[in-house]
């Protein structure tokens, strides 16, 4: 029996030649680990509105996903405590539900834009905001954190490989 649970990437299989990080056609993709997440649902007055984000600490940011729904993202290995849970706000560990990658590089915006129906121009998609949409036909949550041309992309775990392949194919094409 394993002493420590082994992290298992959703983007590639163990021992596979294809692996992350990868650089294709001016786009770099790397997997975000550690990254733990909590999904919040319910009522809260002090959490960001839809599409907005709020950095609670250096290693913790809250993304407004939908009315009454947020994703808390921790860049740590720390076990997520239900620190936000109240009698009106319910939490569920989502650390394993999303595969998270950082897409960056000179062509990152072009590549993601080609795959995504939401307007990602810097005027319309400003830093420290997020949106839920689709990338390459799969559900996706895109968080622009820090600067233009750098995105944190959250993909439901089961679709992670499909989206990664879409991004790499489009990067090679563009």
């Amino acid at each position: 029996m394993p002493d420590q649970p082994l992290f298992q990437s959703a983007f590639f299989e163990p021992g596979e030649e294809f692996n992350l990080p990868v650089a294709v056609g001016g786009v770099s993709v790397k997997e975000n680990q550690p990254c733990r997440m909590t999904l919040l649902a319910g009522k809260a007055a002090n959490l960001p509105s839809v599409g907005q984000t709020a950095a609670l600490r250096q290693d913790c940011v809250v993304l407004g996903l939908a009315p009454g729904r947020w994703l808390v993202v921790y860049d740590t290995e720390t076990t997520v405590a239900d620190e936000f849970a109240t009698d009106q706000l319910f939490a569920s560990d989502h650390s394993d539900a999303w595969a998270v990658m950082t897409v960056s590089g000179a062509k990152a915006t072009d590549v993601l834009q080609a795959l995504c129906p939401v307007d990602m121009h810097p005027v319309n998609f400003v830093n420290d905001t997020c949106f839920q949409s689709r990338i390459g036909g799969s559900p996706a949550l895109v968080f622009k954190n820090g600067s233009d041309g750098r995105y944190r992309v959250f993909i439901p775990r089961s679709s992670a490989r499909a989206v990664l392949e879409d991004i790499c194919d489009m990067a090679a094409f563009l």
């Binding site: 029996m1 394993p2 002493d3 420590q4 649970p5 082994l6 992290f7 298992q8 959703a10 299989e13 163990p14 999904l39 649902a41 319910g42 009454g68 009106q88 319910f90 569920s92 560990d93 989502h94 650390s95 394993d96 539900a97 999303w98 834009q113 080609a114 795959l115 995504c116 129906p117 307007d119 990602m120 121009h121 319309n124 390459g136 036909g137 799969s138 439901p156 775990r157 089961s158 679709s159 490989r161 499909a162 989206v163 879409d166 489009m170 094409f173």
Partner: protein, 952 residues
């Protein structure tokens, strides 16, 4: 063969240092980089490019752009072939194979040309009048007619090309990179907004490219290149050439398709464009004039003549007559003179040409015959002469350049709902301009066409001369003026009816050069003003778009994004054969040592029934339901009662649609106080989640409940079989899984193999079973631990097929077979679960009389009477007593050979269910398989009907 056309020794925008080889109908030819297929063919002396749609008349090059109705060819061969491409729009590439269409056995000797000799017998509507009898024979007639009339054939081989789709956003989309479009793009770009400029040509410039020199002395191409270069230098401008915008929809959503230059990338790309504002600068297209024989090879639009000379360096004829009803006919004179084309005359329908036009003619010594017209063009495979009226003066020529005025290219504008109006001064349809912040029309498409001056209509004369002449309105569909006259006589004078009766305006060119003529002629024929005649709807696409481009890469295994379960790596290592299940890639079975599928499935079932098996259940939908009103919501959404469901207990539940039919089934587990976990079937989870969200957000917004989707969070592995308890005990001896501590339909949390887990004692296989949920990132660690723990008990993974076999043996339901959208809980034998005392979604319609009838299809089991015959898949159940006219009593939903029972069994939906069927001798028939099996009706639960195994 005489070459009427030839390459000019100099000039044009082609690169003469880069010759390109290509083939046309098996003949090797040479062109240059920069040629279109049409210009290269013309330079090689090709005179006849196609046979016409109906009469198989020889047709030559008429236009030089997307308006071309004749030059429809197939490009490529084999799987790479693409039919119905317009030769004037396709850039020539080295090694290209071009094939003519709609002819047999060859373009020169075409059997179908016999139609031309019996043309008077084949007017519009001929087929539908003649081939009415006998009615059943139409399918045979149609086969022959379709072969004789039509376009190219699509390759029957799989398309090896790659296609892609892209999203695109901009503040301003400029459609058309001609002079007006370039100027509009520049102005928009200078304001700092995001601009996308699209043009169907491979170079920007539009009509600028057709000008040897502009009035300011600069070459047209230089001017276009300079403007385009300035645009490309701007970071806020994207120039997309070889890109046709073919659809304009609500909210400025537009579709465009790009043709790429070959190589390893996509052959075509579909662009889905959202534009803040659209500037339509699509220009205008020249029309023909109506005279007998106006379809002969050698009859060509004036603007096309100019383009072939100035852009491609091709002389389209040697001795020409120009026939015009407006000033733009004079515009080609200079190019023709420079190219060495002898101008035998310029015939102008108008009594007085404009001073500028007259000056142009005078400058080049061209005699203008004002107030004259062409009565006919003569020739067989090329025009040889024309007859000029009034009178009968014959003029020999091999080229007739015609200009009947210009039509704004307003197709896209019309698609988005813009209105067009018939402008009598210009004799054409022009957009009704309205002020809008969403769009703007600039240049010729807005009706700004000063170069044509006054336009004299010729429809009255054409109608007068229509009898016994071949005056074509629509070249692509072989529609004559006489056909329109016939349509009006037969009561089809409405423009929409006339289009359908005669097919004018149909085909790949969608009437680009013919629609205005059809309106004008209908006006003359019906005595109504052109605006009263109206116009037919412009529909997308503006030009033909391949299915490949529309589909993009969404084919085969890329049809939908593939979802992999967290155990995917272990399935691969275990040698699984995969199959798609919804959008999931799921193990079908795990063959060992060359086993067949059936052998593997039988082994997996027997191993699970006798020892222990493990199966990936991760694709089941999972939602956590929280809040003080969670149980109220469950009571509303499910037919079952949940008010007394204790913490740590699970219950099977059914969700109905509002019409009372079963939507989905699954389990509901009370995880802790105020929190429930509900599971849904793989196939219906998305629909069920939407259904529940809708109930919460729309119908019961006052309930204090939230839904937390956790499907992706948890990897689920079911360990099933008589030895399952021993396996779990080895995973964690401290986890009390005794039947007393952890009975059926109970739930526990704890650790297994050092991993935090949720364990549910539920069973789909009918065996003692534990479903272990672990965080998806640790799924493989759990799998490995279960394999190690179960090795001594003979554990094996089993796939979807074995799972299906075991659920059929147990009589469990499956979405798509038993839960087919037409069954109620009663039909499925679950009616007793439904609450009778309180309401739930679907109840009010569930209790309607129709759903209470005794003869409804109800779930039953079937066994073959002989105990060995396989019950045909998809078979219908019939009453065998009345074999002459059997009553269909139901149908088989699932059929297997049961490894556990050693005999075939099936589940079925049977009218009246077990109660009434017992009195009847019935059989299952499959007309498809040609099999009939007599069956007995029995309980749908074949294995362990008392549930002793799963409760063990």
């Amino acid at each position: 063969m005489k070459n009427y056309t030839s390459r000019l020794p100099s000039g044009g925008l082609i690169d003469r240092s880069r010759p390109l080889s290509f083939q046309f109908d098996g003949r090797s030819m040479t062109g240059f980089k920069g040629d279109s297929v049409a210009s290269a063919l013309m330079a090689n002396g090709v005179n006849v490019i196609a046979r016409s749609f109906k009469y198989h008349r020889p047709r030559g090059f008429f236009g030089a752009g997307s308006e071309e109705p004749n030059a429809i060819v197939t490009i490529g061969e084999g799987a790479h072939s693409e039919p119905n491409l317009v030769a004037t729009q396709i850039p020539l590439r080295d090694g290209m194979i071009v094939t003519s269409q709609n002819r047999w056995p060859s373009l020169k000797w075409d059997v179908g040309s016999v139609n031309g000799y019996v043309a008077p017998l084949l007017p519009s509507g001929f087929y539908y009048k003649t081939f009415m009898w006998p009615a059943w024979a139409w399918k045979h007639y149609e086969h022959v007619i379709r072969n004789a009339a039509g376009f190219g054939a699509v390759s029957q081989k799989a398309d090896p090309d790659i296609y892609a789709k892209r999203y695109c956003h901009c503040d301003v989309l400029v459609v058309g990179a001609g002079p007006a479009g370039l100027q509009a793009a520049m102005e928009a770009a200078e304001s700092g907004v995001r601009v996308v400029l699209c043009d169907e040509g491979r170079e920007s410039g539009g009509s600028l490219l057709d000008e040897a020199t502009r009035p300011d002395g600069r070459a047209g191409r230089d001017q276009a290149e300079a403007l385009t270069g300035q645009l490309r230098d701007k970071t806020n401008v994207t120039v997309m050439l070889s890109t046709t915008v073919f659809g304009w929809y609500d909210h400025n959503y537009l579709l465009a398709v790009s043709r790429c230059n070959g190589g390893d990338g996509p052959a075509q790309v579909l662009h889905k464009i959202r534009a803040g504002k659209v500037i339509l600068a699509a220009g205008a297209m020249e029309r023909s004039l109506l005279f007998d024989g106006n379809d002969l090879p050698g009859v060509m639009l004036c603007a096309a003549t100019k383009r072939y000379i100035n852009r491609y360096g091709v002389r389209p004829g040697q001795r020409a007559v120009i026939y015009t009803n407006n000033d733009s006919g004079y515009d080609v004179v200079e190019a023709m003179v420079n190219a060495g084309v002898s101008i035998a005359g310029l015939v102008d329908r108008r009594d007085t040409p404009s001073p500028g036009a007259q000056a142009m003619a005078d400058r080049h010594g061209v005699t203008v015959e004002a107030g004259s017209y062409l009565k006919c063009a003569r020739g067989r495979s090329r025009v040889r002469s024309v007859v000029v009226g009034p009178g009968e003066r014959s003029v020999s020529c091999d080229l007739v350049c015609v200009s009947g005025g210009w039509t704004p290219t307003a197709h896209l504008y019309s698609q988005r709902g813009g209105k067009l109006t018939f402008e009598m001064g210009m004799n054409t349809l022009v957009p009704e301009l309205v002020r809008s912040t969403d769009f703007e029309l600039v240049g010729a498409v807005a009706g700004d066409m000063p170069w044509q001056g006054e336009v004299a209509p010729d429809w009255e004369a054409a109608v007068a001369m229509s009898r016994r002449t071949k005056t074509f309105v629509d070249l692509q569909n072989d529609v004559l003026v006489a056909d329109l006259a016939l349509a009006v006589r037969e009561g089809y004078g409405d423009v929409e009816l006339a289009k359908r009766y005669t097919t004018t305006g149909m085909g790949t060119d969608q009437g680009k050069t013919s629609n205005v003529h059809a309106i004008g002629l209908l006006s003359e024929l019906t005595g109504r003003a052109p605006n009263e005649v109206g116009y037919t709807t412009f529909r997308a696409p503006y030009t033909p778009v391949t299915f490949g481009a529309v589909i993009g890469c969404d084919v085969g295994e890329n049809l939908t994004p593939v979802r992999r379960t967290p155990y995917h790596a272990r399935h691969v290592e275990s040698g699984a054969v995969f199959e798609p299940s919804s959008s999931w890639l799921y193990p079908k079975y795990y063959p060992m040592d060359g086993e067949s599928m059936n052998d593997a499935i039988t082994r997996e079932v027997n191993n699970t029934r006798s020892k222990v098996g493990m199966v990936d259940m991760s694709s089941l939908g999972k939602i956590e339901l929280c809040g003080p009103d969670a149980v109220k919501f469950l009571e509303l959404a499910y037919v079952n009662k949940f008010a007394k469901l204790a913490v740590g207990r699970c219950r099977y539940g059914i969700v109905l649609r509002h019409d009372g039919m079963v939507l989905d089934d699954g389990t509901v587990t009370r995880i802790c106080e105020g929190r429930y976990l509900i599971t849904m079937t793989t196939a219906q989870s998305w629909l069920t989640q939407l259904h529940l969200e809708r109930l919460l957000q729309v119908e019961y917004p006052d309930l204090d409940v939230v839904m937390l989707p956790v499907t992706e969070q948890w990897a689920s592995l079911a360990v099933a079989g008589p030895k399952a308890r021993e396996v779990l005990r080895k995973l964690n001896p401290d986890f009390d899984i005794s039947n007393e501590a952890f009975p059926f339909t109970h739930y526990r949390e704890g650790t297994m193999a050092g991993l935090p887990v949720r364990v549910f004692r539920v069973s789909f296989s009918g065996e003692l079973s534990y479903e272990i949920n672990v965080g998806a990132n640790h799924a493989c660690a759990l799998w490995d631990a279960v394999v190690v723990a179960g090795r001594s008990f003979g554990i094996m993974p089993y796939g979807l097929e074995a799972l299906d076999v075991m659920r059929i043996e147990k009589g469990h339901l499956n979405v798509g077979t038993e839960i087919d959208g037409l069954t109620t809980p009663d039909d499925l034998g679950l009616g007793r679960m439904a609450k009778s005392d309180v309401t739930f979604v679907g109840k009010s319609l569930l209790i309607r009389d129709h759903l209470q009838r005794d003869d409804r299809l109800r779930l039953v089991g079937l066994r073959p009477k002989d105990g060995k015959s396989a019950i045909p898949r998809g078979g219908v159940i019939v009453d065998q007593v009345n074999s002459a006219s059997p009553d269909v009593l139901g149908h088989v939903t699932a059929t297997i050979h049961s490894p556990t029972l050693g005999s075939p069994i099936a589940l079925a939906l049977l009218s009246g269910g077990q109660e009434t069927a017992h009195t009847t001798d019935i059989q299952v028939e499959s007309p498809v398989a040609g099999e009939t099996v007599a069956v007995d009706v029995c309980s749908p639960v074949f294995v362990d009907p008392e549930g002793e195994r799963l409760r063990a």
